[in-house]
């Protein structure tokens, strides 16, 4: 669950990935599938057109229980926990007193005295220590990461395929709703309408010991419409097209949510959360740099760490945080931090792609948006 030193850890689905012939790499201290034999492009397209099934059991699950659980969670995160009702979740960040991001999270309100926070795999140890250090005496904090598996089931056919395995009323679940203790293919599960691909979809939690059974059923159910398991490679191209940030790439301890375009999860009126003062000051002044999305205009693919220049040349003014070939949008896309003066959509920047200076144009919003049938 934690240290990236020594032998990487295995999720409960490691053997399933091996059996499928996945290419497995050490990802932040975990043996994880990068891709299955059909390859990243094929997996990406399967998720956009049918269903992608992802093992995300390496992510962490931390339970907060007790009369002061809501208060404890609110102390830690910037979004309005008080507005959550049972069976609803929200996306948020936890910040340092400086406003830098400790982690980006999803907070689930199970009951008034029980919240679940799902944290990034690479941050489990850091987050649990941070939570305990700050609110450890306010309520019971239990790290259930080891005994909990998480499978993501994403794509336009996700609901119809999942419906074959459960009597849970999936149609009534709207984005960020969830249900606890439902039966999915005979496995006791929690089902949330959340995801990280830009598609509609679900994330299914179950006990680690049941994960393989659930996975096999999900793979089978997804197969008729063309769904398949998807590795971390396509998970990255999918999330980047949807312009969702990845902690460690686009967010870290030194970036603030206001810089990262996550101002919408910062609700100063919701309580005295850690980092509130710094963020309010930053908001008043305006952040000095901003995370922008860009499309490459010339032939080149931006990668994490490549320097960004302005059109005038000279020293680098920023850095690429994520970049790839957008397989659905068929453009080379990326994100990076630039000075606020340069951050306007339509503006140009220059990416130093290993010595080749390639122009890029800043664009607003996600690179990819799924087609929607009317309004929800």
């Amino acid at each position: 669950m934690t240290a990236s030193q020594g032998e990487p850890r295995k999720t409960p689905l490691y053997e399933a990935h091996k059996a499928l012939g996945a290419r497995i790499i050490d990802f932040g201290g975990w043996w994880m599938p990068v891709s299955y034999p059909s390859g990243i492009i094929d997996e990406h397209k399967a998720c956009r057109s049918a269903v992608g099934i992802f093992d995300v059991s390496h992510m962490g699950e931390v339970h907060f229980r007790g009369p002061r659980a809501a208060e404890a969670v609110q102390r830690l995160v910037t979004n309005a926990v008080g507005k959550l009702t049972d069976g609803h979740a929200l996306y948020t960040v936890a910040c340092h007193p400086t406003g830098g991001i400790v982690d980006d999270l999803i907070v689930y309100r199970v009951k008034a005295d029980h919240f679940l926070i799902v944290v990034n795999a690479g941050n489990i140890a850091k987050d649990v220590a941070w939570f305990r250090q700050n609110v450890g005496t306010w309520c019971d904090i239990r790290d259930a990461s080891d005994e909990t598996a998480l499978i993501s089931f994403q794509g336009p056919k996700a609901q119809s395929a999942l419906a074959a395995l459960t009597r849970a009323d999936l149609a009534s679940l709207r984005a960020f709703d969830f249900v606890t203790d439902v039966d999915v293919a005979g496995v006791r599960s929690w089902v949330a309408r959340t995801g990280y691909t830009g598609e509609d979809g679900f994330e299914v939690f179950c006990a680690a010991g049941d994960a393989r059974r659930l996975w096999d059923h999900l793979v089978e159910a997804a197969s008729p419409p063309g769904g398949k398991p998807v590795g971390l490679g396509a998970r990255d191209t999918l999330r980047l097209e949807a312009r969702l940030s990845l902690y460690g790439n686009d967010l870290d301890d030194n970036t603030s949510p206001l810089e990262a375009g996550l101002g919408w999860v910062v609700k100063p009126e919701s309580g005295d959360f850690i980092g509130r003062d710094a963020l309010m000051a930053q908001k008043a002044e305006g952040p000095r740099r901003k995370l922008v999305g860009f499309v490459m205009l010339g032939r080149g693919i931006a990668r994490h760490g490549y320097p960004i220049h302005d059109l005038a040349g000279g020293a680098a003014v920023g850095q690429v945080t994520s970049g790839t070939t957008g397989l659905t949008v068929e453009k080379n896309i990326g994100m990076g931090y630039v000075p606020t003066r340069m951050a306007e959509p339509g503006g140009k920047l220059v990416v130093d792609c290993r010595g080749k200076m390639i122009e890029a144009e800043i664009v607003k919003g996600p690179f990819y948006q799924r087609p929607r049938e009317g309004k929800k």
């Binding site: 290419r23 990068v34 390859g39 990243i40 032939r299 990668r303 790839t324 070939t325 290993r354």
Partner: protein
């Protein structure tokens, strides 16, 4: 479908192959390299007339995952570039030894060929490095 490591080619430890015909060597990357890279989305190659030097970078391959350097197996002048790879980089995945060739080099020093590995030696090298 061609052999994994065809017998008529010579190989390097950087996972390039060369097909020698007189003074000209056709160069590409091996099936092993292709499997490591995953889906190739862009190939950057030198221009015709430029020089390449054995063991030095002559271009790069972008895959969906990352960017990787290409190392020249031999020294010489680039006499031909597989320009269809500009629009169809997937040839490298689909047919690394044929449609996926990258450059043709007119060799400056034919002795360098002796430093390349046979298919058998390359397969042995891969096996040993996996252990």
């Amino acid at each position: 479908m061609s052999a994994t490591y065809p017998d008529d080619l010579l190989y390097t430890k950087d996972h390039e192959w060369a097909r020698i015909s007189g003074k000209v060597a056709t160069v590409g990357i091996t099936k092993f390299a292709v499997d490591q890279l995953g889906d190739v989305t862009q190939v950057d190659l030198p221009k015709e007339g430029e020089s390449v030097k054995a063991h030095e970078v002559f271009g790069s391959v972008e895959s969906v995952k990352a960017v990787s350097d290409l190392f020249a197996p031999l020294t010489g002048k680039v006499v031909k570039v597989n320009s269809p790879l500009n629009d169809s980089p997937e040839y490298v995945n689909e047919d690394p030894y044929d449609e996926g060739w990258m450059i043709q080099v007119e060799m400056a020093n034919l002795d360098e060929v002796k430093g390349l590995m046979s298919a058998e030696a390359y397969a042995k090298f891969l096996k040993e490095s996996a252990e």
